[in-house]
């Protein structure tokens, strides 16, 4: 089985950063 764990972690971090980042942006704009 190839060692591709780093790519998976990178993708999951990217998704989390985009979701949290946009949620935070909306929260700031809604104040």
């Amino acid at each position: 089985m190839p060692e591709t764990g780093n790519s998976m972690i990178a993708a999951y971090i990217v998704v989390a950063v985009i979701v949290i980042g946009y949620a935070f942006t909306l929260w700031r704009r809604s104040r």
């Binding site: 790519s7 998976m8 998704v15 985009i18 979701v19 946009y22 949620a23 909306l26 929260w27 809604s30």
Partner: protein, 231 residues
């Protein structure tokens, strides 16, 4: 049509609550994917990108599809709220589009040996995102709100054609990008644990889309109500 600040505030609160629930759902999806879903034999752990990349792309398609549909309705009914829904959905679509365009190459590099290829699916996804980036360039160029709504609705309707076409690219062209395995007419070729996590991913991203778009719509609604009060 009358828009009041209080109802906009209620919409924002509702959107925030749904977004929060979706973020908890995303954490649950990660847990499910990492802890309870088996690792694929040939690709290794990077196959688990599958639980976020197609759901993100699907949310983008839903978002851009909604822009097109509400744009048609705007041109028919001329209700300003429909323009605000289109604006909200286009912005959220760009967020999911960025997610798709980043997670795809992260999976592609170890699997295909390249970050990017000008294959029909990848190219059309990029074009779709660029068209909706242009949608905001068009909106920001218009001062008059009615004119802005009308012109952007026309673009939204035209861009609606890209949504089904992008979905069909993997069938119409000889692409490197895989075809959707779960949409095959015979039984899905996935173990049940993988299929379950994949479907949870779609559920989480649907709720996330709703949370984002309702919050963003509420923000637009409040801005419109304040502008109407000052006019």
């Amino acid at each position: 049509m009358s828009i009041d600040v209080a109802s906009a505030e209620r919409t924002i609160r509702r959107g925030k609550a749904i977004t929060l629930a979706a973020m908890v759902g995303l954490a649950g999806l990660y847990l499910l994917a990492l802890r309870y879903t088996p690792t694929e034999r040939f690709e290794g752990l990077v196959q688990k990108v599958y639980y976020v990349h197609p759901p993100g792309a699907y949310a983008m398609q839903i978002a851009f599809g909604v822009v097109g549909v509400v744009s048609v309705l705007y041109l028919w009914l001329r209700d300003e709220r429909l323009d605000l829904v289109a604006e909200a959905s286009a912005e959220v679509g760009l967020v999911f589009g960025a997610m798709t365009l980043v997670t795809g190459p992260i999976w592609g590099q170890p699997t295909w040996g390249t970050w990017w290829t000008w294959d029909a699916r990848l190219t059309f996804t990029l074009i779709e995102v660029l068209v909706f980036a242009g949608y905001f360039a068009l909106r920001s160029a218009m001062q008059d709100s009615h004119e802005r709504a009308r012109y952007s609705a026309v673009l939204g309707v035209m861009a609606l054609l890209l949504v089904p076409f992008n979905h069909l690219t993997v069938y119409l062209f000889n692409t490197t990008h895989p075809k959707p395995i779960t949409l095959q007419t015979n039984k899905p070729q996935l173990p049940d644990e993988m299929l379950r996590t994949f479907l949870v991913g779609f559920g989480v991203f649907t709720v996330l889309y709703l949370g984002f778009v309702i919050t963003r719509y509420g923000i637009g609604l409040r801005r419109a109500a304040m502008e109407a009060d000052h006019a």
